[in-house]
């Protein structure tokens, strides 16, 4: 938009907002035609609920709790995923032998693991962590392997002819070369992790009768089944969306900083 | 040598093209006041250093771009847009990757204007004829990614001819090929163009190339362009006898013509590659 004047830029923003604003207005209009006791969510009520939830701090604490789990689970999965990915990328033997197992688990969704996780770990944070870690693991692994495979083999060979040790080659040649793919993998993984934590908390909340697991997903379930408040649910949905966006933007920023040479 | 009484097949009058850079708002003059008459059945080559606007001119003749000033007329009518009467062969062939050889050659016939008056059988016959003509019989069902560069070029040529255009516009069609394939295809091109046929049966062709020897081999006239802005420096008439394939390169006039054209371009070519112009001066040859 750099070559537009102020008027054109305003018009561009206008076009961006037309549809969402129109839809929200239509939504509000529809809601106002309903009888006053109706539980249906309405934009104005949603805003009001947002204010309530923020003032009691419950929204913030739930978000932080969910994020904490995501970060922890994601970190565990990334460490394992990158390490394993590097090994698999570097060694045909390792890759050959692990590939069948990994490819078999890939179509098994994180949520499918949930009942087992509940059996093993109960209905609290460990289960949620397990699901998040499982979900984050595959994007990181697969992209790391892909990244390593795209490293120019000639660079590796050239390094070996210079007498550089294998460990140094791994950290100084392979890792930087694979970094763009690895960072892409972590960004995807973080997105998946966020979705997974919400799903896990939702499901655990549903199975454990609304007790003790905390987090946004849990909060949503409570507002669905116990303190029925659809407006609060919408608030939670919006929070889920906003956090997802923020996470993605953050990771893109990190990507740019770490890989200034990429377009 | 050109007779002005029959009206030219193609006429460029004061054709100018300038480009406006979207970010900076600066305008670059790509082609300046180019005027040229091309007769029916002529083979014209356009040569010049990089950036002299050769492709821009071709695009304008094809109707894919519009002159900023001046007019291009074909058969006395102004050119307003692309059409099957001016067929183009692009530098990178522009073959549809999802079509086989047969599908590509027949693309214009089946979906565009060239084949409108034909029925299905006639179209298929025509397609088969041109596939045969370029020597690709047997490869009809291959996809472009399965073909070599030379084969792809022949598909593009077959497609061009199958559409039966009045004027052939060829933008460095042989540029991406290795030298030997190029030699073969130059001869093919002359044959297909109708070198051995009488002038009235030849198609009008405009051929862009970097290769001066190629230009002298193929053309009736060579339009030498200069750069910054692009304009016609000189039009060199190639008075070598036809048919040329196989014989022209050893004709005494061949080397003279090539050297003459090169002398027109040399300075600018050196400048284009950021070189030292003093190197452009011819060195003294030691004799005896």
């Amino acid at each position: 938009m750099t070559n537009m004047n102020a008027g054109q830029r305003a018009a561009a923003w206008g076009r961006k907002l037309v549809l969402p604003v129109l839809l929200i207005a239509a939504w509000q209009f529809w809601a106002s035609t309903l009888p006053t006791g109706s539980p249906a969510p309405a934009p104005l009520k949603v805003l009001q609920t947002l204010g309530d939830l923020l003032s009691t701090g419950s929204l913030l604490s739930a978000t932080v709790q969910s994020l904490g789990r995501v970060v922890l689970g994601f970190a565990m999965a990334s460490v394992l995923g990158i390490a394993l990915g590097l090994m698999m990328g570097a060694s045909q033997a390792v890759r050959e032998n692990l590939d069948p197992i990994i490819e078999s688990f890939r179509p098994i969704a994180p949520m499918a693991i949930l009942p087992i996780a509940i059996l093993w770990l109960g209905t609290g944070t460990p289960t949620a962590l397990a699901i998040v870690a499982y979900a984050s693991f595959f994007p990181v692994l697969i992209n790391t392997v892909h990244g390593v495979s795209r490293v120019d083999r000639k660079l590796v060979l050239a390094s070996r002819t210079m007498g550089i040790s294998r460990w140094t080659i791994l950290t100084r040649v392979v890792l930087p070369g694979a970094l763009p793919s690895i960072l892409l993998g972590t960004r995807l993984a973080m997105g998946v992790a966020w979705t997974a934590i919400i799903a896990a908390e939702l499901a655990v909340g549903a199975k454990s009768g609304g007790g003790g697991s905390g987090g946004i997903g849990q909060m949503m379930f409570v507002f669905y089944a116990y303190n029925i408040d659809l407006n609060a649910i919408v608030v939670c949905m919006a929070v889920v969306g906003v956090v997802a966006l923020l996470i993605d933007q953050l990771f893109r920023l990190v990507e740019k900083r770490l890989i200034p040479w990429k377009a | 040598m050109s007779d002005n009484t029959p009206s030219p097949k193609l006429r460029l009058s004061g054709v100018t093209k300038s480009f406006l850079a979207p970010r900076t708002g600066l305008s670059t003059l790509a082609v300046a006041e180019m005027s040229l008459d091309i007769q029916t059945g002529e083979f014209i080559c356009i040569v010049g250093p990089s950036g002299c606007g050769k492709s821009t001119v071709l695009n304008m003749i094809a109707g894919l771009d519009v002159p900023t000033a001046g007019v291009i007329q074909k058969d006395g009518q102004a050119v307003t847009g692309p059409g099957a009467d001016r067929g183009v062969m692009f530098q990178d062939y522009a073959l549809m990757p999802w079509q086989t050889v047969e599908g590509n050659v027949g693309f214009g016939l089946r979906h565009g204007t060239p084949g409108q008056h034909l029925n299905k059988t006639q179209r298929n016959q025509r397609i088969a004829h041109f596939i045969d003509l370029v020597g690709l019989r047997g490869s009809e069902h291959k996809y472009p990614h399965q073909l070599s560069g030379g084969m792809r070029q022949r598909v593009a040529l077959a497609r061009l001819l199958a559409n039966g255009p009045d004027i052939l516009l060829l933008d460095e069609p042989l540029g991406a090929l290795d030298a030997q394939t190029r030699l073969i295809l130059q001869a093919e091109l002359l044959r297909i163009w109708g070198e051995t046929a009488p002038v009235t049966e030849r198609k009008t062709a405009i051929f862009i190339t970097h290769d001066i020897e190629e230009a002298v081999l193929l053309a009736d006239r060579v339009v030498v362009m200069s750069t910054n802005p692009g304009r016609v420096r000189e039009v060199v008439t190639i008075d070598l006898p036809r048919p040329r394939a196989g014989k022209a390169r050893t004709h005494p006039r061949f080397g003279v013509l090539v050297e003459h054209i090169w002398s027109l371009i040399r300075d600018e070519a050196y400048r284009a590659i950021g070189g030292d112009e003093s190197l452009a001066k011819p060195t003294e040859e030691a004799t005896a």
Partner: protein, 268 residues
């Protein structure tokens, strides 16, 4: 770093035998480790032995229960995917071709996209209740975005030269769309469909786990509550296998529809 210079046996037949052998070997090791873990763990409810799981799997297959749930889930998936395609592809073409349409619609898309399908579950449960519609809605939503985004991308990356070439053959506006734009965008659209499938198949488990009385997702939760762990494992296996088979199907469809692309969405 041995970017292994070892070459596998030359001919393709020999190589696929070798791959099979390696796979079998890996699985054997995997099951052996599983069994060891089971033996060490000592609690058959938590980690049943592989043998028990296969026994349960066999039983379920024979009784047709797996087929029953699998077909329910698969049908829902197909329905949702078809709906996603029907809505997202035309919309994607429109947005790809018209900058104006994109300017208006894209902000809404980008606002909804971060809200994962799962986050819609409570609201959707309220609207649709437990049953068939819920999983289909969630899957439709989840599948919609990858297909839309990929369609727009597919249209945008159409080689302008191909369009120019077609115009020099006298091809008009509508034939240009149908005969050049659509085939050119198709490989990328197919990639989007495969992505949509993977995301939807993951979402269906969550949706059925919470909000459906039938289907594979429901089954794994049902048997967990009954503490019949071998059957839980069996159904999880079924989820994986059906997902894999469907993806194979999509890949073969991809090869049929876009034989010129190499399967990663890139055309020659």
């Amino acid at each position: 770093m041995g970017m292994a210079m070892t070459t596998s046996a030359g001919s393709p037949v020999l190589r696929s035998y070798r791959t099979l052998w390696v796979s079998l070997r890996s699985f054997a090791v995997f099951f052996a480790l599983w069994w060891l873990l089971h033996w060490w763990n000592g609690n058959p409810l938590q980690l049943p032995s592989p043998l028990k799981v296969f026994e349960a799997l066999w039983g379920l297959l024979r009784e047709g229960e797996i087929a029953e749930h699998a077909s329910v889930s698969t049908l829902r998936m197909l329905l949702a995917l078809s709906l996603s395609i029907l809505v997202a592809v035309p919309l994607g073409f429109w947005m790809g071709l018209s900058r104006l349409a994109e300017e208006f619609i894209d902000p809404l898309v980008e606002m909804l996209r971060p809200i994962s399908g799962i986050a819609w579950l409570p609201l959707a449960l309220f609207i649709f209740g437990v049953g068939d519609t819920l999983p289909v809605f969630i899957m439709f939503y989840v599948g919609f975005f990858p297909i839309l985004l990929n369609t727009v991308a597919g249209v945008r990356q159409t080689d302008a030269r191909l369009l120019a070439a077609a115009r020099t053959m006298g091809i008009g506006r509508w034939p240009l769309l149908v005969h050049v734009l659509v085939p050119s965008a198709l490989p990328t659209v197919m990639v989007g469909i495969r992505l949509a499938f993977a995301a939807s198949w993951a979402a269906i488990v969550a949706a059925e786990l919470i909000g459906s009385p039938t289907g594979l997702g429901f089954a794994i939760e049902w048997y967990r509550q009954m503490l019949m762990t071998p059957k839980v494992f069996a159904f999880i296996l079924a989820i994986g296998v059906v997902g894999y088979v469907c993806d194979l199907g999509l890949r073969s469809l991809q090869r049929r529809l876009t034989p010129w692309a190499d399967g990663t969405g890139a055309s020659s």
